[in-house]
Point group: C3
Chain length 100, copies 3
């Protein structure tokens, strides 16, 4: 998605991270790209669009296949423009620094 | 690849994104790392090399296996130093904000 | 992991990249997220926590399954809080710009 995409008054990527957390998904990380293009074939470039800063945003979310599929169904109507991919990973460890 | 790698007078990652777009690939995103090392086992670090800023660059491109393989063949001779990996993902949605 | 996590007097992500290099792994890249949450379900946000800058850090490391598993065993005791995932990729090319 784009950095400037918004939903309910906040950046869309923030909304997605909060929704992921509220729905109990195991983790989410937001990465901002330097440039890119996507579904609308617009080219986003840090240098050209520095003022508007409409840069590509990647949100990586990790959980079980079932929870990921449910979450994608939840956000499906909210993402007006974007690409969502799903891939299989093996969780090696998932650990909190706080005592259980 | 490195942030300072160039091809035809522009950053190599910019050249790759434009080539991907011109060849009709579905999407590309450029991410810049804080530090890293790769094929030449040189360590790139933001703090030490801030002036030269030769930081690792990741370009993620999404499309069918056939188009990805063709594109990798196209850029193979252009990337003097780098690592290319291919993995299988499932496209969940791919959507433009503009009316079809 | 978090940007502020430390080990042996340096940022944990730096320690991991150096350990990967010293153990001969083929490549590593550090990416810093804008925001995220993980094992401890704390929300890290660039805007709110700019001073502390405890932002999510992703370290991507590429090598054979055997070397990755060994390396994860090595760092397992060092990462107090974090999520580690492993996935299969195909190496398309891995090339140094320097003459062999």
């Amino acid at each position: 998605m784009g950095e400037n995409d918004r939903h309910q008054g906040r950046p869309l990527y923030e909304w997605i991270v909060r929704a992921a957390r509220e729905n109990g998904l195991a983790g989410a990380t937001v990465l901002r790209g330097l440039e890119g293009y996507g579904a609308a074939s617009r080219l986003h470039t840090a240098k050209i669009l520095r003022l508007s800063s409409d840069l590509p945003i990647v949100v990586e979310i990790v959980d079980s296949e079932e929870k990921i599929e449910s979450f994608l169904a939840l956000i499906d109507g909210v993402v007006g423009e974007g690409l969502a991919t799903v891939e299989r990973v093996e969780i090696h460890f998932y650990r909190s620094g706080k005592p259980d």
